[in-house]
């Protein structure tokens, strides 16, 4: 077995774990019970950060893809692939926790309103991105095609974000920066912000693990090439 000391990774994982415990404490014990929906509203504190994490991950796919097309280099492609994988995971969680929240509040699991439909489209775009990466054999072509899709696919992120402002939707209106009627009780806002910070740390931790895996795959490729040359 290969043992590599990864101090930054260990510290990052430990900080994320502590932040997660603090977040859970705030979600279940610190944040007040919402008057209309009751305890089920607490889904909000992990549902919104999951959406934030997915948007953040897809934004970085956009940035890394752009850098790949601009400068070339495998590093950008690897970062984009890792970020897309994490983004898809958390976009899936948005699409699962949303209906779990919607059922007791709206009475239906799903409705084809602009926010929900565009989020599903976003998920499909990045699942297609991962499938493209999986099924395309040539690394150069794969990286270029994926970068183009990673850039074009990001167009849907602002559409998802602004959909509840541009169209009448079943989905609730924005609770932050949404106008005079919007806003959160201070304890609820603090809980939400802590959870968003925790999910950002979680993203960095998962990205680090994912990149470590890629580094090992690259090492296998290098060793196989050397072995072929030696044999």
């Amino acid at each position: 077995m290969i043992e590599r000391k990864d101090t930054i990774g260990t510290v990052l994982t430990a900080i994320t774990a502590v932040a997660m415990i603090v977040s859970l404490y705030m979600v279940f014990l610190f944040a007040p019970r919402e008057a209309t929906m009751g305890d089920v509203q607490r889904i909000f504190y992990f549902h919104v950060p999951s959406a934030w994490l997915a948007f953040f991950a897809f934004f970085l796919v956009f940035v890394f893809s752009f850098l790949y097309l601009l400068r070339g280099g495998r590093r950008w492609d690897t970062l984009a692939a890792a970020s897309a994988e994490i983004g898809v995971l958390f976009c899936t969680l948005v699409l699962v926790t949303g209906p779990i929240w919607a059922k007791p509040v709206w009475g239906v699991w799903w409705t084809w309103d602009a926010r929900l439909t565009l989020t599903l489209v976003l998920w499909l775009i990045y699942v297609a991105y991962l499938m493209l990466r999986h099924y395309m054999a040539d690394p150069e072509r794969r990286a270029t095609f994926a970068a183009v899709l990673g850039i074009i696919g990001f167009i849907d992120v602002p559409l998802v974000y602004f959909s509840i402002r541009w169209w009448r939707t079943q989905h609730p209106q924005p609770v932050m920066a949404g106008g005079d009627d919007s806003g959160l009780e201070p304890a609820m806002l603090a809980t939400l912000l802590v959870c968003i910070g925790t999910f950002t740390l979680l993203y960095l931790t998962l990205l680090r693990y994912r990149l470590k895996l890629q580094a090992l795959r690259d090492e296998v490729d290098t060793l196989q090439d050397r072995l072929e040359q030696a044999g």
């Binding site: 077995m1 305890d39 089920v40 992990f46 999951s50 995971l89 969680l93 979680l202 998962l206």
Partner: protein
Amino acid sequence: MKWLFAAYAVIWLAVFLYLFDLAKKQKAIAREVEGLKAKLGNADKK
């Protein structure tokens, strides 16, 4: 309460399954690296 439990259970399950999958793949590849290094060591000796 069951909805709240379901939502949080899904999130934790997904994150842990993803981490478990990464760890499993990492172990397998690390083993492959060790095997290749051993083969390369033998090839160098010859």
